[in-house]
Protein backbone atom coordinates (compact mmCIF):
# COMPACT_ATOMS: atom_id res chain seq x y z
CA UNK A 1 0.00 0.00 0.00
CA UNK A 2 1.30 3.40 -0.90
CA UNK A 3 1.60 5.77 1.97
CA UNK A 4 0.15 9.18 1.38
CA UNK A 5 2.89 11.64 2.17
CA UNK A 6 1.03 14.75 1.13
CA UNK A 7 -0.41 15.34 4.58
CA UNK A 8 2.89 14.78 6.35
CA UNK A 9 4.55 17.15 3.96
CA UNK A 10 1.98 19.82 4.50
CA UNK A 11 2.25 19.41 8.24
CA UNK A 12 6.03 19.55 8.18
CA UNK A 13 6.00 22.59 5.93
CA UNK A 14 3.58 24.39 8.21
CA UNK A 15 5.73 23.70 11.25
CA UNK A 16 8.86 24.78 9.46
CA UNK A 17 7.59 28.26 8.85
CA UNK A 18 7.13 28.70 12.56
CA UNK A 19 10.60 27.58 13.50
CA UNK A 20 13.22 30.22 13.24
CA UNK A 21 16.19 28.53 14.75
CA UNK A 22 18.14 26.36 12.35
CA UNK A 23 18.95 23.63 14.87
CA UNK A 24 15.38 23.28 16.04
CA UNK A 25 14.24 23.17 12.48
CA UNK A 26 16.71 20.48 11.47
CA UNK A 27 15.69 18.34 14.47
CA UNK A 28 12.07 18.66 13.47
CA UNK A 29 12.83 17.49 9.96
CA UNK A 30 14.80 14.44 11.01
CA UNK A 31 12.05 13.47 13.43
CA UNK A 32 9.48 13.72 10.64
CA UNK A 33 11.63 11.49 8.44
CA UNK A 34 12.28 8.84 11.06
CA UNK A 35 8.56 8.68 11.77
CA UNK A 36 7.56 8.27 8.16
CA UNK A 37 10.39 6.24 6.69
CA UNK A 38 11.66 3.82 9.26
CA UNK A 39 15.43 4.05 9.09
CA UNK A 40 18.05 2.94 11.62
CA UNK A 41 19.52 6.40 11.81
CA UNK A 42 19.32 9.72 10.03
CA UNK A 43 20.80 13.14 10.35
CA UNK A 44 21.77 16.38 8.67
CA UNK A 45 25.11 17.83 7.74
CA UNK A 46 24.61 21.56 7.91
CA UNK A 47 26.90 24.02 6.20
CA UNK A 48 28.85 26.10 8.69
CA UNK A 49 29.63 29.46 7.12
CA UNK A 50 32.38 30.41 9.52
CA UNK A 51 34.31 27.14 9.07
CA UNK A 52 33.39 26.44 5.45
CA UNK A 53 32.56 22.84 6.22
CA UNK A 54 29.53 20.63 6.75
CA UNK A 55 28.97 19.46 10.31
CA UNK A 56 26.52 16.87 11.64
CA UNK A 57 24.12 19.11 13.49
CA UNK A 58 21.22 16.75 13.98
CA UNK A 59 21.22 13.03 14.38
CA UNK A 60 18.74 10.45 15.47
CA UNK A 61 18.90 6.70 15.95
CA UNK A 62 19.90 4.12 18.53
CA UNK A 63 22.86 5.00 20.69
CA UNK A 64 26.00 3.56 19.10
CA UNK A 65 24.43 3.75 15.65
CA UNK A 66 23.61 7.43 15.55
CA UNK A 67 26.45 9.75 14.72
CA UNK A 68 26.88 12.03 17.75
CA UNK A 69 25.97 15.64 17.02
CA UNK A 70 29.04 17.76 16.41
CA UNK A 71 31.29 14.70 16.22
CA UNK A 72 31.91 14.57 12.50
CA UNK A 73 32.31 16.93 9.58
CA UNK A 74 33.03 16.82 5.87
CA UNK A 75 34.77 19.55 3.92
CA UNK A 76 34.41 20.65 0.32
CA UNK A 77 36.86 18.00 -0.93
CA UNK A 78 34.81 15.17 0.45
CA UNK A 79 33.39 12.99 -2.37
CA UNK A 80 29.84 13.41 -1.05
CA UNK A 81 30.10 17.17 -1.30
CA UNK A 82 31.89 16.97 -4.64
CA UNK A 83 29.19 14.72 -6.02
CA UNK A 84 26.65 17.47 -5.43
CA UNK A 85 28.81 20.48 -6.24
CA UNK A 86 31.17 19.39 -9.01
CA UNK A 87 29.96 20.54 -12.41
CA UNK A 88 31.54 17.52 -14.14
CA UNK A 89 29.27 15.18 -12.24
CA UNK A 90 26.29 16.55 -14.08
CA UNK A 91 27.43 14.70 -17.18
CA UNK A 92 26.76 11.43 -15.43
CA UNK A 93 24.20 11.98 -12.74
CA UNK A 94 21.01 13.67 -11.90
CA UNK A 95 22.11 15.19 -8.64
CA UNK A 96 18.86 15.28 -6.73
CA UNK A 97 19.94 12.44 -4.46
CA UNK A 98 22.69 9.91 -4.04
CA UNK A 99 21.84 6.29 -3.40
CA UNK A 100 24.20 3.56 -2.36
CA UNK A 101 22.52 1.08 -4.69
CA UNK A 102 23.14 3.30 -7.65
CA UNK A 103 26.90 3.29 -7.25
CA UNK A 104 27.21 -0.42 -7.93
CA UNK A 105 24.99 0.13 -10.90
CA UNK A 106 27.42 2.76 -12.17
CA UNK A 107 30.38 0.41 -11.98
CA UNK A 108 28.54 -1.88 -14.37
CA UNK A 109 27.79 0.89 -16.84
CA UNK A 110 30.21 0.82 -19.77
CA UNK A 111 30.16 4.54 -20.31
CA UNK A 112 31.18 5.24 -16.73
CA UNK A 113 33.62 2.39 -16.17
CA UNK A 114 35.73 3.71 -19.06
CA UNK A 115 36.47 6.88 -17.12
CA UNK A 116 39.26 5.96 -14.71
CA UNK A 117 38.95 9.12 -12.65
CA UNK A 118 35.27 8.54 -12.27
CA UNK A 119 35.74 4.95 -11.13
CA UNK A 120 38.30 6.14 -8.59
CA UNK A 121 35.85 8.79 -7.42
CA UNK A 122 33.01 6.31 -7.13
CA UNK A 123 35.17 4.02 -5.01
CA UNK A 124 35.86 6.87 -2.64
CA UNK A 125 32.19 7.70 -2.59
CA UNK A 126 31.33 4.13 -1.72
CA UNK A 127 33.83 4.29 1.10
CA UNK A 128 32.02 7.36 2.50
CA UNK A 129 28.73 5.48 2.43
CA UNK A 130 30.25 2.73 4.50
CA UNK A 131 31.96 5.15 6.92
CA UNK A 132 28.64 6.83 7.65
CA UNK A 133 26.63 3.60 7.41
CA UNK A 134 24.41 5.52 5.06
CA UNK A 135 22.22 4.34 2.22
CA UNK A 136 21.15 7.70 0.87
CA UNK A 137 22.33 11.31 0.81
CA UNK A 138 19.85 14.00 -0.16
CA UNK A 139 21.14 17.48 -0.87
CA UNK A 140 19.50 20.76 0.04
CA UNK A 141 20.33 23.55 -2.40
CA UNK A 142 19.59 27.21 -2.25
CA UNK A 143 20.17 28.48 -5.75
CA UNK A 144 23.52 26.93 -6.57
CA UNK A 145 24.64 26.70 -2.96
CA UNK A 146 24.62 23.46 -1.08
CA UNK A 147 23.44 24.32 2.42
CA UNK A 148 22.80 20.90 3.92
CA UNK A 149 22.83 17.19 3.28
CA UNK A 150 20.38 14.77 4.73
CA UNK A 151 21.77 11.30 5.33
CA UNK A 152 19.78 8.16 5.95
CA UNK A 153 20.89 4.78 7.22
CA UNK A 154 19.41 1.48 6.14
CA UNK A 155 15.71 0.96 6.66
CA UNK A 156 14.67 -1.18 9.61
CA UNK A 157 13.51 -3.92 7.24
CA UNK A 158 16.65 -3.53 5.06
CA UNK A 159 14.49 -2.82 1.99
CA UNK A 160 15.56 -0.19 -0.50
CA UNK A 161 13.99 3.26 -0.70
CA UNK A 162 10.81 3.46 -2.73
CA UNK A 163 10.35 6.17 -5.37
CA UNK A 164 7.56 7.83 -3.36
CA UNK A 165 9.80 7.92 -0.29
CA UNK A 166 12.55 9.55 -2.27
CA UNK A 167 10.05 12.00 -3.67
CA UNK A 168 8.95 12.82 -0.15
CA UNK A 169 12.54 13.33 0.96
CA UNK A 170 13.53 15.58 -1.93
CA UNK A 171 10.49 17.79 -1.48
CA UNK A 172 11.23 17.94 2.21
CA UNK A 173 14.87 18.79 1.55
CA UNK A 174 13.98 21.71 -0.72
CA UNK A 175 11.46 23.05 1.80
CA UNK A 176 14.06 22.65 4.47
CA UNK A 177 16.52 24.73 2.53
CA UNK A 178 14.05 27.57 2.20
CA UNK A 179 13.40 27.43 5.90
CA UNK A 180 17.10 27.25 6.72
CA UNK A 181 17.78 30.27 4.57
CA UNK A 182 15.03 32.15 6.37
CA UNK A 183 16.38 31.07 9.70
CA UNK A 184 19.88 32.19 8.78
CA UNK A 185 18.59 35.50 7.58
CA UNK A 186 16.71 35.87 10.82
CA UNK A 187 19.75 34.95 12.91
CA UNK A 188 21.86 37.42 10.94
CA UNK A 189 19.31 40.16 11.44
CA UNK A 190 19.04 39.39 15.11
CA UNK A 191 22.80 39.42 15.44
CA UNK A 192 22.93 42.74 13.63
CA UNK A 193 20.28 44.21 15.89
CA UNK A 194 22.16 42.93 18.90
CA UNK A 195 25.34 44.60 17.65
CA UNK A 196 23.55 47.84 16.91
CA UNK A 197 21.96 47.81 20.32
CA UNK A 198 25.31 47.26 22.00
CA UNK A 199 26.97 49.99 19.98
CA UNK A 200 24.16 52.36 20.76
CA UNK A 201 24.24 51.47 24.43
CA UNK A 202 27.94 52.04 24.75
CA UNK A 203 27.63 55.39 23.04
CA UNK A 204 24.81 56.41 25.30
CA UNK A 205 26.63 55.16 28.38
CA UNK A 206 29.57 57.30 27.39
CA UNK A 207 27.17 60.22 27.18
CA UNK A 208 25.78 59.41 30.62
CA UNK A 209 29.31 59.52 31.98
CA UNK A 210 29.77 62.85 30.28
CA UNK A 211 26.75 64.23 32.13
CA UNK A 212 28.19 63.16 35.42
CA UNK A 213 31.38 64.96 34.59
CA UNK A 214 29.33 68.07 33.87
CA UNK A 215 27.37 67.96 37.10
CA UNK A 216 30.11 67.92 39.71
CA UNK A 217 27.75 67.08 42.54
CA UNK A 218 26.57 63.86 41.01
CA UNK A 219 29.83 61.92 40.86
CA UNK A 220 28.94 58.27 40.99
CA UNK A 221 25.24 59.09 41.16
CA UNK A 222 24.25 57.00 38.12
CA UNK A 223 26.19 54.00 39.30
CA UNK A 224 24.56 54.15 42.72
CA UNK A 225 21.07 54.62 41.31
CA UNK A 226 21.58 51.50 39.20
CA UNK A 227 22.72 49.61 42.29
CA UNK A 228 19.78 50.75 44.43
CA UNK A 229 17.26 50.13 41.64
CA UNK A 230 18.45 46.56 41.14
CA UNK A 231 18.35 45.89 44.88
CA UNK A 232 14.83 47.28 45.15
CA UNK A 233 13.66 45.16 42.23
CA UNK A 234 15.13 42.05 43.85
CA UNK A 235 13.10 42.68 46.98
CA UNK A 236 9.72 43.49 45.47
CA UNK A 237 6.83 41.47 46.79
CA UNK A 238 3.12 41.44 46.07
CA UNK A 239 3.74 42.17 42.41
CA UNK A 240 3.97 39.74 39.54
CA UNK A 241 6.37 40.63 36.77
CA UNK A 242 5.78 38.57 33.62
CA UNK A 243 9.37 38.38 32.41
CA UNK A 244 11.64 39.04 35.37
CA UNK A 245 14.93 38.79 33.50
CA UNK A 246 13.85 41.18 30.80
CA UNK A 247 12.45 43.55 33.40
CA UNK A 248 15.70 43.53 35.35
CA UNK A 249 17.72 44.17 32.22
CA UNK A 250 15.52 47.07 31.17
CA UNK A 251 15.52 48.52 34.68
CA UNK A 252 19.30 48.45 34.75
CA UNK A 253 19.57 50.24 31.43
CA UNK A 254 16.86 52.74 32.35
CA UNK A 255 18.56 53.50 35.67
CA UNK A 256 21.84 53.95 33.87
CA UNK A 257 20.30 56.35 31.40
CA UNK A 258 17.64 58.05 33.52
CA UNK A 259 19.32 61.45 33.41
CA UNK A 260 20.56 61.23 29.83
CA UNK A 261 18.26 64.15 28.95
CA UNK A 262 20.44 66.48 31.03
CA UNK A 263 22.86 66.59 28.13
CA UNK A 264 20.98 69.65 26.91
CA UNK A 265 21.00 71.52 30.21
CA UNK A 266 23.71 74.05 30.98
CA UNK A 267 26.35 73.35 33.59
CA UNK A 268 25.51 76.59 35.37
CA UNK A 269 21.94 75.53 35.90
CA UNK A 270 22.87 72.01 37.02
CA UNK A 271 25.30 73.37 39.59
CA UNK A 272 23.29 76.37 40.72
CA UNK A 273 23.32 76.96 44.48
CA UNK A 274 20.42 79.38 44.77
CA UNK A 275 16.74 78.75 44.17
CA UNK A 276 15.66 78.22 40.59
CA UNK A 277 13.35 80.67 38.84
CA UNK A 278 10.31 79.57 36.89
CA UNK A 279 12.09 79.33 33.55
CA UNK A 280 14.98 77.39 35.01
CA UNK A 281 12.63 74.99 36.74
CA UNK A 282 10.83 74.36 33.49
CA UNK A 283 14.04 73.79 31.64
CA UNK A 284 15.17 71.28 34.26
CA UNK A 285 11.82 69.51 34.29
CA UNK A 286 12.10 68.83 30.59
CA UNK A 287 15.04 66.48 30.96
CA UNK A 288 12.98 63.27 31.03
CA UNK A 289 11.52 64.18 27.65
CA UNK A 290 14.90 65.10 26.24
CA UNK A 291 16.09 61.67 27.35
CA UNK A 292 13.25 60.00 25.50
CA UNK A 293 14.15 61.88 22.36
CA UNK A 294 17.74 60.75 22.59
CA UNK A 295 16.81 57.10 23.12
CA UNK A 296 13.94 56.97 20.67
CA UNK A 297 15.89 55.65 17.66
CA UNK A 298 16.21 52.21 19.19
CA UNK A 299 12.85 50.51 19.23
CA UNK A 300 14.03 47.79 21.64
CA UNK A 301 14.32 50.45 24.31
CA UNK A 302 10.57 50.76 24.62
CA UNK A 303 10.54 49.66 28.26
CA UNK A 304 13.73 51.52 29.02
CA UNK A 305 12.08 54.67 27.67
CA UNK A 306 9.26 54.29 30.18
CA UNK A 307 11.78 54.44 32.99
CA UNK A 308 13.50 57.53 31.63
CA UNK A 309 10.28 59.31 30.70
CA UNK A 310 8.43 58.87 33.98
CA UNK A 311 11.11 58.81 36.68
CA UNK A 312 9.99 62.20 38.00
CA UNK A 313 6.31 61.34 38.18
CA UNK A 314 4.85 61.08 41.69
CA UNK A 315 2.48 58.46 43.03
CA UNK A 316 0.09 61.21 44.16
CA UNK A 317 0.04 62.76 40.68
CA UNK A 318 2.06 65.87 41.58
CA UNK A 319 5.15 64.96 39.60
CA UNK A 320 6.35 66.01 36.20
CA UNK A 321 6.16 66.15 33.22
CA UNK A 322 2.84 64.27 32.84
CA UNK A 323 1.37 64.27 36.35
CA UNK A 324 0.63 60.57 36.11
CA UNK A 325 -0.90 58.99 39.20
CA UNK A 326 -0.54 55.69 41.08
CA UNK A 327 -0.32 52.66 38.88
CA UNK A 328 -0.37 54.78 35.73
CA UNK A 329 3.32 55.19 36.42
CA UNK A 330 5.28 52.22 35.07
CA UNK A 331 7.01 50.15 37.75
CA UNK A 332 10.43 50.73 36.16
CA UNK A 333 9.97 54.47 36.67
CA UNK A 334 8.65 54.08 40.23
CA UNK A 335 11.72 52.10 41.21
CA UNK A 336 14.15 54.58 39.66
CA UNK A 337 12.28 57.39 41.37
CA UNK A 338 12.97 55.96 44.85
CA UNK A 339 16.55 55.01 44.02
CA UNK A 340 17.19 58.45 42.55
CA UNK A 341 15.63 60.29 45.49
CA UNK A 342 17.56 58.29 48.08
CA UNK A 343 20.88 58.94 46.39
CA UNK A 344 20.05 62.62 45.86
CA UNK A 345 19.27 63.05 49.55
CA UNK A 346 22.35 61.25 50.81
CA UNK A 347 24.84 63.19 48.69
CA UNK A 348 25.83 66.83 48.78
CA UNK A 349 23.90 69.10 46.46
CA UNK A 350 24.57 72.66 45.36
CA UNK A 351 21.57 73.77 47.39
CA UNK A 352 21.98 71.68 50.56
CA UNK A 353 24.18 69.30 52.46
CA UNK A 354 23.81 65.54 52.43
CA UNK A 355 21.26 64.00 54.75
CA UNK A 356 22.21 61.07 56.94
CA UNK A 357 21.08 57.67 55.69
CA UNK A 358 18.54 57.45 58.52
CA UNK A 359 16.97 60.78 57.71
CA UNK A 360 16.84 60.00 54.00
CA UNK A 361 15.18 56.66 54.66
CA UNK A 362 12.71 58.39 56.93
CA UNK A 363 11.84 60.84 54.15
CA UNK A 364 11.22 57.98 51.77
CA UNK A 365 9.01 56.27 54.32
CA UNK A 366 7.02 59.44 55.00
CA UNK A 367 6.44 59.81 51.29
CA UNK A 368 5.20 56.23 50.91
CA UNK A 369 1.98 56.49 48.92
CA UNK A 370 2.57 60.22 48.37
CA UNK A 371 5.63 60.80 46.27
CA UNK A 372 6.47 57.11 46.00
CA UNK A 373 4.76 53.87 45.09
CA UNK A 374 4.13 52.01 48.40
CA UNK A 375 5.16 48.63 47.01
CA UNK A 376 8.49 50.06 45.89
CA UNK A 377 9.05 51.80 49.22
CA UNK A 378 8.40 48.51 51.05
CA UNK A 379 11.02 46.79 48.89
CA UNK A 380 13.43 49.67 49.51
CA UNK A 381 12.94 49.38 53.29
CA UNK A 382 13.54 45.64 53.07
CA UNK A 383 16.87 46.34 51.38
CA UNK A 384 17.78 48.80 54.14
CA UNK A 385 16.98 46.26 56.84
CA UNK A 386 18.95 43.55 55.07
CA UNK A 387 21.96 45.80 54.70
CA UNK A 388 21.72 46.98 58.29
CA UNK A 389 21.17 50.61 57.32
CA UNK A 390 18.15 50.48 59.60
CA UNK A 391 17.29 48.13 62.40
CA UNK A 392 14.84 45.44 61.35
CA UNK A 393 13.07 45.55 64.71
CA UNK A 394 12.24 49.20 64.47
CA UNK A 395 11.83 49.88 60.78
CA UNK A 396 11.07 53.54 61.45
CA UNK A 397 14.18 55.32 62.66
CA UNK A 398 13.85 57.28 65.89
CA UNK A 399 12.65 60.78 65.52
CA UNK A 400 15.19 63.31 66.61
CA UNK A 401 14.44 66.91 67.30
CA UNK A 402 16.70 68.16 64.49
CA UNK A 403 15.03 66.09 61.87
CA UNK A 404 11.55 67.03 62.98
CA UNK A 405 10.93 69.80 60.52
CA UNK A 406 11.78 67.53 57.61
CA UNK A 407 9.29 64.95 58.67
CA UNK A 408 6.27 67.07 58.12
CA UNK A 409 4.67 65.55 55.05
CA UNK A 410 6.43 67.70 52.54
CA UNK A 411 4.13 69.71 50.39
CA UNK A 412 6.91 70.17 47.91
CA UNK A 413 8.59 67.27 46.26
CA UNK A 414 11.98 66.27 47.49
CA UNK A 415 14.10 68.26 45.14
CA UNK A 416 15.78 65.88 42.82
CA UNK A 417 18.75 66.44 40.64
Amino acid sequence: MKKNYTKDLEKAARQMILVRRVDTLARLIVRTIIRNIHVKHAGIFLYDKSKNEFIVKVSKGKIGTKIPVGFTKVNNNNPIIRFFTDENMRKYFKQDFLLFNRIDYCFKSKRMSRDKNLVEFLKKLKNEFSLYQAKAFIPGFYGNNLVGILFLGAKDDESSFKPEELGFLTVLASDVVMAIQNAWLFEDLNGQLEINKKLFLSTVTALATAIEAKDKYTMGHTERVVKYAVEIADNLSGITIPNVEEFAENLKIAALLHDIGKIGISENLLNKKSALNHKEKRSLSEHPLMGVEILNPISEFKDVLLGVKYHHERYDGKGYPFRLKGNQIPLVASIISVADAYDAMTTHRPYRKALSNERAIRQIKINRGKQFNPVVVDAFLKVCVKQGTIDGNSPVPLITSQSHELEKPASNAIRLP
Binding site: I55, I63, T65, F71, T72, K73, N78, Y132
Partner: protein
Protein backbone atom coordinates in the same frame (compact mmCIF):
# COMPACT_ATOMS: atom_id res chain seq x y z
CA UNK B 1 53.24 -5.39 17.40
CA UNK B 2 50.63 -6.84 19.64
CA UNK B 3 48.04 -9.00 17.87
CA UNK B 4 45.11 -8.23 20.14
CA UNK B 5 43.45 -5.08 18.85
CA UNK B 6 41.84 -3.63 21.89
CA UNK B 7 41.52 -0.01 22.92
CA UNK B 8 40.23 2.07 25.80
CA UNK B 9 37.72 4.79 24.92
CA UNK B 10 37.32 7.68 27.35
CA UNK B 11 34.76 10.43 26.82
CA UNK B 12 32.16 11.82 29.19
CA UNK B 13 29.59 11.68 26.43
CA UNK B 14 28.05 8.23 26.35
CA UNK B 15 26.96 8.72 22.73
CA UNK B 16 30.49 9.33 21.58
CA UNK B 17 32.12 6.29 23.19
CA UNK B 18 29.21 4.13 21.98
CA UNK B 19 29.62 5.42 18.45
CA UNK B 20 33.38 5.01 18.48
CA UNK B 21 33.04 1.46 19.77
CA UNK B 22 30.69 0.69 16.89
CA UNK B 23 33.02 2.41 14.42
CA UNK B 24 36.15 0.52 15.56
CA UNK B 25 34.32 -2.80 15.64
CA UNK B 26 34.03 -2.57 11.85
CA UNK B 27 37.80 -2.85 11.69
CA UNK B 28 37.92 -5.72 14.16
CA UNK B 29 39.06 -3.51 17.00
CA UNK B 30 37.34 -4.19 20.28
CA UNK B 31 36.95 -1.51 22.96
CA UNK B 32 36.45 -0.92 26.61
CA UNK B 33 34.44 2.27 26.98
CA UNK B 34 34.19 4.53 30.01
CA UNK B 35 32.66 7.96 30.58
CA UNK B 36 34.98 9.48 33.17
CA UNK B 37 38.64 9.85 34.03
CA UNK B 38 38.16 7.94 37.29
CA UNK B 39 36.71 4.95 35.48
CA UNK B 40 39.47 5.12 32.90
CA UNK B 41 42.14 4.84 35.57
CA UNK B 42 40.22 2.12 37.37
CA UNK B 43 39.81 -0.12 34.32
CA UNK B 44 43.06 0.58 32.53
CA UNK B 45 44.97 -2.63 31.90
CA UNK B 46 48.48 -2.13 30.50
CA UNK B 47 48.58 -5.71 29.23
CA UNK B 48 45.59 -5.46 26.91
CA UNK B 49 45.21 -1.75 26.25
CA UNK B 50 47.99 -0.41 24.12
CA UNK B 51 45.85 2.42 22.76
CA UNK B 52 43.68 4.95 24.50
CA UNK B 53 41.35 7.48 22.86
CA UNK B 54 41.03 10.21 25.41
CA UNK B 55 38.67 13.18 25.62
CA UNK B 56 40.37 16.28 27.02
CA UNK B 57 37.47 18.10 28.62
CA UNK B 58 35.72 15.97 31.16
CA UNK B 59 33.81 17.00 34.25
CA UNK B 60 35.73 15.57 37.20
CA UNK B 61 39.29 14.65 36.20
CA UNK B 62 40.47 16.30 33.00
CA UNK B 63 42.23 14.53 30.15
CA UNK B 64 45.69 15.83 31.04
CA UNK B 65 45.54 14.29 34.50
CA UNK B 66 44.35 10.99 33.06
CA UNK B 67 47.12 11.14 30.45
CA UNK B 68 49.78 11.72 33.10
CA UNK B 69 48.53 8.88 35.30
CA UNK B 70 48.23 6.48 32.37
CA UNK B 71 51.82 7.30 31.45
CA UNK B 72 52.82 6.58 35.06
CA UNK B 73 51.16 3.18 34.88
CA UNK B 74 52.46 2.36 31.41
CA UNK B 75 55.08 4.62 29.84
CA UNK B 76 54.52 2.88 26.47
CA UNK B 77 50.78 3.55 26.30
CA UNK B 78 49.75 5.27 23.09
CA UNK B 79 47.25 8.00 23.80
CA UNK B 80 45.29 9.80 21.11
CA UNK B 81 43.63 12.94 22.38
CA UNK B 82 40.20 13.81 21.04
CA UNK B 83 39.55 17.44 21.90
CA UNK B 84 36.59 19.74 21.52
CA UNK B 85 38.57 22.60 20.03
CA UNK B 86 41.92 23.20 18.37
CA UNK B 87 43.91 24.99 21.02
CA UNK B 88 47.64 25.41 20.42
CA UNK B 89 48.60 25.37 24.11
CA UNK B 90 46.64 22.21 24.84
CA UNK B 91 48.06 20.60 21.73
CA UNK B 92 51.64 21.38 22.74
CA UNK B 93 50.99 20.31 26.28
CA UNK B 94 49.44 16.99 25.20
CA UNK B 95 52.36 16.27 22.87
CA UNK B 96 54.88 17.15 25.56
CA UNK B 97 53.13 14.76 27.90
CA UNK B 98 53.52 11.98 25.36
CA UNK B 99 50.22 11.86 23.45
CA UNK B 100 50.84 10.50 19.94
CA UNK B 101 48.13 12.59 18.28
CA UNK B 102 45.65 15.34 18.93
CA UNK B 103 42.41 15.13 16.97
CA UNK B 104 39.84 17.90 17.05
CA UNK B 105 36.08 17.47 16.91
CA UNK B 106 34.28 17.60 14.55
CA UNK B 107 36.40 14.96 12.87
CA UNK B 108 36.47 13.75 9.30
CA UNK B 109 35.66 10.04 9.51
CA UNK B 110 37.90 9.09 6.64
CA UNK B 111 40.89 10.92 8.19
CA UNK B 112 40.02 9.27 11.46
CA UNK B 113 39.96 5.83 9.86
CA UNK B 114 43.33 6.48 8.19
CA UNK B 115 44.84 7.45 11.52
CA UNK B 116 43.49 4.36 13.19
CA UNK B 117 45.08 2.21 10.49
CA UNK B 118 48.34 4.11 10.68
CA UNK B 119 48.67 3.81 14.44
CA UNK B 120 46.97 0.54 15.28
CA UNK B 121 47.68 -1.63 12.25
CA UNK B 122 50.92 -0.16 10.97
CA UNK B 123 52.38 0.60 14.34
CA UNK B 124 53.38 4.16 13.54
CA UNK B 125 53.51 6.93 16.06
CA UNK B 126 55.72 5.03 18.50
CA UNK B 127 57.94 7.23 20.56
Amino acid sequence: MNDAKHVLLVDDEEEIVAYMENFLKRFKISSTKVTSGEEALAVYDPKTMQFVFLDLHMKTIDGFTVLRKLKDINPDVKVIIIAGSPDKDSMDKARAMGAIDYITKPIDLSDFKNKIFKYIFEGQGSK
